[in-house]
């Protein structure tokens, strides 16, 4: 085949996407975006879009049309939730909240960055804090607290193991533990497949 065929022929025509995902969007209440007029106020207001490839309106539009590629794209993780789009949308669409819901679906489908997964699974679940001060690596922060006359650890879950248990119990009850386990499983499979491909290529 000629190189130019590779280079120039792009037969991609948008076809209706996976209805399972589209249904998930509906279940998550994302149909609120149906009244979107694609005015671009959200994208125009977005400080992230000014420096990244994230396009608020395009993400919203993909969700509306059931285009699941939006879930795999890192773009939706570049929204800082500054809420400008939410405040200005002329159709009163809670845009930021919609992006958050999209992320929820993405996670459910196993699309979560490693950093985020570690934060959720290894740090938040294990310590009850998003930014903890316990553990060996964090000694300097405990020392710093003491240097300002504070106890080395704050009166939070850090000093109340029973409270941490309570949090973990709640996280199990509400489905966070299962969610994380599923994600871990998906990530493992993905890695295995990747390795297989690499071996094949070799």
């Amino acid at each position: 085949m000629s190189d130019n065929v590779e280079k120039y022929i792009k037969r991609k025509v948008y076809k209706k996407e996976n209805s399972r995902i589209a249904q998930k969007f509906v279940d998550a209440g994302l149909e609120k975006i149906r009244s979107c007029i694609n005015c671009g106020t959200c994208t125009g207001s977005c400080p992230s879009g000014r420096r990244t490839a994230y396009r608020t309106r395009s993400a919203i539009r993909k969700a509306l049309t059931g285009d699941e590629s939006v879930l795999q794209d890192i773009d939706i993780w570049l929204c800082t939730t500054c809420y400008y789009c939410y405040e200005r949308c002329p159709r009163n669409i809670p845009v930021t909240d919609m992006i958050i819901k999209l992320r929820n679906i993405a996670v459910e489908e196993g699309f979560i960055l490693d950093n985020h997964f570690t934060l959720a699974n290894d740090i938040f679940y294990e310590t009850g804090h998003g930014v903890p001060a316990n553990g060996e690596g964090n000694k300097k922060w405990r020392d710093l607290r003491e240097s300002y006359g504070l106890p080395p650890l704050p009166p939070t879950v850090h000093t109340h193991p029973e409270a941490l248990k309570e949090c973990q119990e709640l996280m199990k009850s509400v489905g966070f533990r299962d969610l994380m386990d599923n994600v871990a499983e998906k990530k493992k499979q993905e890695r295995a497949e990747q390795e297989k491909e690499e071996v094949k290529e070799k």
């Binding site: 007029i37 959200c42 994208t43 207001s45 879009g49 200005r88």
Partner: protein
């Protein structure tokens, strides 16, 4: 039309013989519920002697079925189960009348809007609701009493509120047809907003050139009495016979003596912002709004006047026309009809903080741009930036400011004129400055009128105006008072930043801030958008729900000048049609006093909002004036003795409905 038969005498105590007619309304009703079963159900109800179903009861054939049954003496009351009485009650009443049956022995059950339309997904529920409605209508029908319509004389004169292009056109038409017109205008001059415009889309004729001759015409017409600088303060009466009180505000200048020489203006030491130029030009405390104002009357703005007395000096005002102690004057007129043509206010964009209006000097509204472009305007048609008086090189317009905005404070509707006026202004600016760069940011361009799409196309092709599809998100200030715009070019899916010298907000049209006052003054309704409501969006576009009162121009909803004028002419013609008849029928739904029950406590008299109740000092009882009574029912519920009865809606009639509604609750699913 068939001839009206001799009226069949039906007395209240005659046994009711009811005919029930179930309409299919094509598939609107029959497509959801079983009309044959409904008909059979109707037959099972007391006093129903026959029931029929038919495809379209309102058709000639359908009406003939009813007439035949009446004429054959089979029935003496009619119930039609069909659409809303708003649609066809008049039709079927006439049917009854033509067949010789008193038209008030007709009752309509609305099984379309109330049952089948709202319950299309639930046919069983719809069927149950339809049954309820038919049962209730039959119950009321049994209790109906024949009534006689009243006829009242119509005064051959019209009050027009608002003398913009709408009010003036209505006035001219009515005057030409020979009716007396009182044209009440709040500001010192007639003309309305059109006087502020420079050119008009899509033909680009000069607004003043087509408006001022009309203004002069209005002033010349003998039948038209212009009452400028005046406001309607009270309206009483009813269709054909409105009594109106008008307050003429004090000009502080004796209009008889004033020769309009203008010497006072030159001598007045107070300079202030000119409303007509939206604060961009100036006037004195004594002023006329603009040179071609009609009437050319001078007025002192007492909020600004410092009472220095200079204008009153004889060497300034020779005819001694200045009258600092001028008082408002109240005038009463009787009119048969009223046309409301109060127009619009411009949306105030201050609350959209992100667009910088009021924060940055070079952010202006579309109406301000109109004044800048006007050759009679503050800069004689050479637009400059408010900040430095220099001609801007780049201008951006933003469409839908305050319009199509579903957030709090916004207007949800499309204002219909802004796309075109921005295109017009952009073209005008490019005509003056071909080298300028002009952007229009839009969500959709609405160019729906005759010649509008062509006008838009030419703006892009021949004038090089750059249309960018995207609603501006925010602006911030740049160097030299420039404005930097942030938006998305939605067609490219890219955020953009553009620096412009001037930023024009294409603000939409809004209902007048005092619409509430006008609506309660006239007892007319407003729709959700705030504008005055027409009686029917398609078939009665110039009528209000109050008989004898019509609406024209933007007062009814946003529209351009061609549509405004068309509607104004429509309103004039509807008013004229009413006045030409000389008399109108009004429904006899007034209250009556059962004399022997009335204890003369007068509770009703003080509560009646229409002043329709008199007191008979001799008999010591209340007396209702049928012509003034609007049938609101306030007195009925107020009367402690149960002496007040409202025709057609008497307690025993309403009770009969409630009784059967409650007795057989067939709507198991709660009417879902």
């Amino acid at each position: 039309m068939t001839e009206i038969q001799k009226e069949i005498k039906v007395r209240a105590k005659d046994r009711p013989q009811i005919g029930v007619y179930v309409c299919h309304c094509g598939i609107n009703i029959a497509g959801v519920v079983d009309v044959v079963k409904l008909k059979d159900y109707a037959l099972s109800l007391p006093d129903v002697v026959l029931a029929r179903e038919y495809k379209f009861m309102c058709s000639d054939n359908g009406q003939k079925m009813i007439k035949d049954d009446i004429e054959a003496g089979l029935i003496n009351r009619v119930v039609v189960a069909a659409c809303s009485p708003r649609m066809h009650e008049p039709t079927f009443r006439l049917t009854c009348k033509e067949a010789g049956l008193n038209q008030f022995l007709f009752e309509q059950a609305n099984i379309r809007e109330h049952a089948t339309w709202v319950n299309m997904q639930d046919p069983e529920g719809a069927y149950d609701i339809a049954k309820d409605h038919i049962r209730m209508a039959v119950a009321k029908s049994r209790k109906l009493i024949p009534l006689q319509v009243q006829k009242v004389k119509v005064e051959p004169s019209c009050l027009i509120i608002g003398a913009g292009i709408a009010g003036m056109n209505s006035a001219l038409d009515l005057a030409d047809e020979g009716y007396k017109v009182y044209l009440v205008e709040r500001s010192p001059t007639i003309g309305g907003h059109m006087a502020q415009l420079d050119k008009t889309f899509p033909t680009m004729d000069c607004s003043a050139c087509i408006l001022t001759p009309r203004m002069v015409d209005v002033a010349r017409k003998k039948n038209i009495e212009i009452m400028s600088y005046s406001e309607v303060v009270d309206v009483s009466g009813y269709v054909g016979n409105f009594e109106v009180t008008i307050m003429k505000k004090p000009h502080y200048v004796d209009q008889e003596k004033c020769t309009a020489c203008g010497a006072c203006v030159e001598s007045c030491p107070v300079t202030c912002g000119n409303e007509f130029d939206l604060g961009m030009g100036t006037r004195k405390a004594i002023y006329i709004p603009f040179p071609q104002a009609v009437p050319g009357q001078y007025t002192i703005d007492m909020d600004k006047c410092i009472k220095c007395g200079i204008c009153a000096r004889i060497d300034v005002c020779e005819p001694e026309a200045i009258k600092y102690d001028d008082k408002p004057e109240y005038v009463k007129v009787n009119v048969g009809t009223i046309i409301v043509a109060t127009g619009w206010d411009l949306y105030d964009p201050t609350e959209l903080v992100q667009y910088g209006y009021g924060r940055f000097p070079n952010v202006i509204t579309g109406l301000q741009m109109e004044r800048l472009l006007s050759s009679f305007g503050p800069v004689l048609g050479k637009p400059v930036r408010p900040s430095d008086g220099k001609a801007p090189h780049t201008i951006a317009f933003l469409q839908c400011v305050g319009s199509r905005n579903f957030r709090e404070g916004g207007n949800t509707y499309c204002s219909r004129v802004c796309c075109m006026y921005a295109t017009k202004q952009a073209r005008q600016y490019k005509e003056k400055h071909p080298e300028a760069e002009v952007y229009i940011f839009y969500m959709d361009i609405r160019a729906f009128g005759k010649g509008y799409e062509e006008f838009y196309e030419s703006a892009a092709e021949n004038y090089g105006i750059k249309y960018i599809r995207g609603r501006i998100a925010e602006v911030y200030g740049g160097e030299n008072d420039s404005i930097i715009i942030r938006a998305e070019d939605t067609l490219l899916q890219t955020p953009i930043e553009i620096e412009v010298d001037m930023f024009v907000l294409s603000c939409g049209l809004e209902a007048r801030a005092d619409s509430d006052k006008v609506s309660s003054l006239l007892s007319i309704q407003r729709s959700a958008d705030g504008f005055f409501m027409e009686a029917h969006p398609k078939l009665k576009p110039v009528d209000t729900l109050t008989d004898g009162i019509f609406v024209a121009g933007v007062a009814q909803g946003p529209k351009d000048i061609p549509d405004t004028v068309a509607q104004a002419k429509g309103a004039a013609s509807s008013a004229a049609a009413l006045m030409a008849q000389g008399e109108v029928e009004i429904e006899p739904y007034y209250s009556v006093v059962i004399e022997h029950l009335c204890s003369g406590c007068r509770s009703c008299q003080s509560l009646c909002p229409f002043g329709a109740i008199d007191f008979d000092e001799f008999k010591k009882i209340a007396v209702v004036n049928p012509a003034l009574c609007k049938g609101c029912g306030t007195c009925v519920s107020a009367c402690p003795s149960g002496a007040m009865v409202q025709n057609h809606f008497a307690n025993f009639q309403l009770d009969s409905i409630i009784n059967v509604a409650l007795k057989q609750p067939t709507v198991e699913n709660g009417g879902k």
